[in-house]
């Protein structure tokens, strides 16, 4: 329990601390230290959960189970590695005068705020608080998206703000409906939004209301997941914000929105007793997957391109959760991990690459491997990993996903693999000229810390070759929670 408290407290403290000292040269170290502390405590928490099983806090406000504990761990970890990267990156930004002290304070404190809201969203037991924290995550990041105060960044920020705000309020309506359905059967109305309570009475809630609620929730949180056609904010926000932001946005935020959707699906399914929710998710997933894959061919901005690949993969996961069934769910959970790790690694590399080339325009990024081999190879390997080449973990999860699809919806398998090929082509046609070939004259290497990338990719590689038993157990527990039976 203390572990949980500490996990939540350290970023909370970080918000205020860094709000004051964020502009100092050593702020990045403080930031990193706080993130490390968060990670360590999260690790302790994870171990605790693994030993004692699910934890419910005394005030019933927090609940940690097999499903969210590994996401908490993932959050803390990626938050930490990205903090490592953000140090030199932001220094470079200051050096070229894109940000000033005030914005640095904002940046660091909001960085912590973002982590805090997300950990909150994951660990809370109250679906209302879940909503509040996810909205909070939007508020925390919206100013970071427009950090550079250029026309594009402000535009991106505004779109992000309005689209997500509107979407999220729909989710709130859904939550209200769930509450409405709950209070009729739950004695204490104060507990009407507690996950632990709702889960027990899931079967008894009224189907009609819940189906309505799920529509609102899906559209609402789906906006945050970046499901087509609710995705339009995502590429803008990713491409215009500072790169560390993009890394945690697509590495973590999307996951958490999806997490929320899945939580509600777990409530809705038993009540409906039909596959309605799943079908809706499959539809959204398929649409996002294919549209994003096609749009990859129209990209001019490197970060924008990878944000579309994020949409594609979120679509894939949504599709998998929609299918349901142990195999697909296990695959989706695994895909959450590997995608976060890989995608944040890619964004980190892209950050350095943009500094090397001095632009985000892909037409001007050339010959990275020759200029700075580690960055070039990192980008190349990372993209191979995200494109689903073995022996990386994405391959494993996609393999599970496809076999599950073929088992339950064989006619959906061909478009799925076709979409994969299309997406791959889109990625590589743009990637190759960036990493290979002759670098333009005067292009020089920059100070880059590739350790985060290395660690991430190594982990993904490990997951691809052999999944450690601990993780397998967690995922299996989560799978059992989600669909009733596991794969082990």
């Amino acid at each position: 329990m203390n572990a949980l408290g500490a996990t939540l407290f350290s970023p909370l403290a970080g918000i205020f601390l860094l709000a004051f000292i964020g502009h100092r040269r050593w702020a990045k170290t403080v930031n990193l230290l706080i993130c490390t502390a968060t990670f360590v405590t999260a690790l302790l928490l994870a171990i605790e959960v693994f030993q004692q099983g699910p934890i419910l806090s005394v005030n019933k406000l927090f609940y940690i189970d097999g499903f969210n504990v590994y996401l908490i761990l993932l959050n803390a970890f990626v938050g930490m590695t990205t903090a490592i990267f953000s140090g030199p990156y932001m220094d470079h930004e200051i050096a070229i005068g894109r940000v000033d002290d005030r914005r640095m304070r904002l940046y660091y404190s909001m960085y912590q705020g973002f982590l805090f809201t997300m950990l909150m969203a994951l660990s809370t037991n109250n679906l209302g608080i879940l909503w509040v924290s996810i909205e909070g995550a939007t508020l925390a990041t919206v100013l970071l998206v427009s950090l550079y105060r250029t026309h594009e960044s402000i535009e991106a920020g505004w779109k992000y703000f309005i689209i997500c705000g509107v979407g999220i309020s729909q989710a709130l309506f859904g939550t209200i409906l769930v509450y409405f359905a709950a209070v009729r059967i739950i004695p204490i109305s104060e507990e009407g939004l507690l996950w632990t309570v709702l889960q027990q009475h899931a079967g008894q809630m009224d189907a009609g209301v819940l189906s309505l609620a799920f529509v609102f929730l899906l559209v609402g949180y789906g906006t945050k997941v970046g499901l087509v056609p609710l995705h339009n904010w995502l590429p803008d926000a990713h491409s215009e914000g500072p790169t560390p932001m993009s890394a945690i946005l697509s590495g973590l935020l999307l996951n958490i929105a999806l997490y929320a959707v899945v939580r509600f699906k777990m409530l809705v399914d038993p009540a409906l007793g039909s596959h309605l929710a799943g079908n809706m998710m499959m539809g959204f997933g398929m649409l996002s997957f294919s549209v994003a894959g096609l749009l990859l061919h129209r990209q001019y901005d490197v970060k924008r391109m990878f944000s579309y690949s994020s949409i594609e993969h979120m679509g894939l996961m949504t599709f998998a959760f929609g299918i349901g069934g142990p195999l697909a769910t296990f695959g989706a959970l695994l895909h959450m991990i590997v995608h976060s790790l890989t995608k944040s690694a890619i964004f980190i590399t892209v950050g350095h690459a943009t500094h090397v080339a001095g632009t985000q325009k892909m037409s001007n990024i050339r010959g990275l491997i020759r200029t700075q081999p580690f960055v070039g190879w990192g980008l190349l390997i990372g993209t191979c990993a995200i494109a689903g080449f073995p022996p990386f973990g994405v391959f494993t999860s996609e393999f599970l996903l496809f076999t599950a699809t073929i088992k339950s919806y064989p006619w959906l398998a061909p478009p799925l693999v076709l979409g994969l090929a299309v997406a791959f082509a889109g990625l590589f046609r743009n990637l190759q000229p960036m990493v290979f070939g002759e670098p333009p004259v005067g292009q020089e290497a920059v100070v880059a810390n590739m350790w985060p990338v290395f660690v991430h990719l190594t982990l993904v590689l490990w997951l691809g070759i052999a999944i450690p038993t601990v993780l397998a157990q967690w995922l299996n527990q989560a799978t059992i929670m989600l669909v009733g039976k596991g794969v082990l």
């Binding site: 608080i129 909503w131 209200i176 209301v209």
Partner: protein, 225 residues
Amino acid sequence: MLIASLSLPEQVVLTLAALILLSSFLLLAQVRLDSLINTFALQGLLIFFATVLMAFIAGKYHLLISAALTLFLKVFFIPGQLRLLIIRLNIRREVEVIGNPSLIMLFAAALVLFSYYVALPIRELSLLSTRNTIAISLAVVLIGMLIVISRRKAVAQVVGFMSMENGLFFAAVVSTYGMPMVVELGIAFDVLVAVILFGVFFFHIRAEIGSLDTDRLNHLTEVEK
């Protein structure tokens, strides 16, 4: 069940609900920013009254707290903030042109019908006397969204967004006597922060494109021009 069979306060609540819906229509119709904001404040006030009444009807006095929150946020703070902004940005008298208002009105009316049709299964369940109001609140939410869609000016969009919040809050109150307190507080906090951030954004947008016309924020696209 006939409205006649209800107690007077309940009848008042229903009337208020109707008025709130009306206020949404007014919001949709307003073309001048300052009057838009005033109407928004009015809507907040109506919701405040409705909440207080619900509190007394159901004897759930924690509702009074949320009522107070509403009064503070939706009636004074947010409208005040917005007024301040439009004065400082000097766009009080700015007129928002809406493409074919009558059509939009018709569409809004259709939305009301649609939300009634959607809310049917819910009202069958509700034990509360005021169950029909769920349809109203849904309509308010949808119309709020319609406002955001149909307006170009950032301020107007914010107002629309806030009136969606109104609808949500109203829905919570009339369908379930409000959400748990902690959630209410959280939501209120979010709204507060959101408004401040909106203020910040107005200045940035203004600084960047010289007006608050968000249609001119269209650089980020896949369609090459």
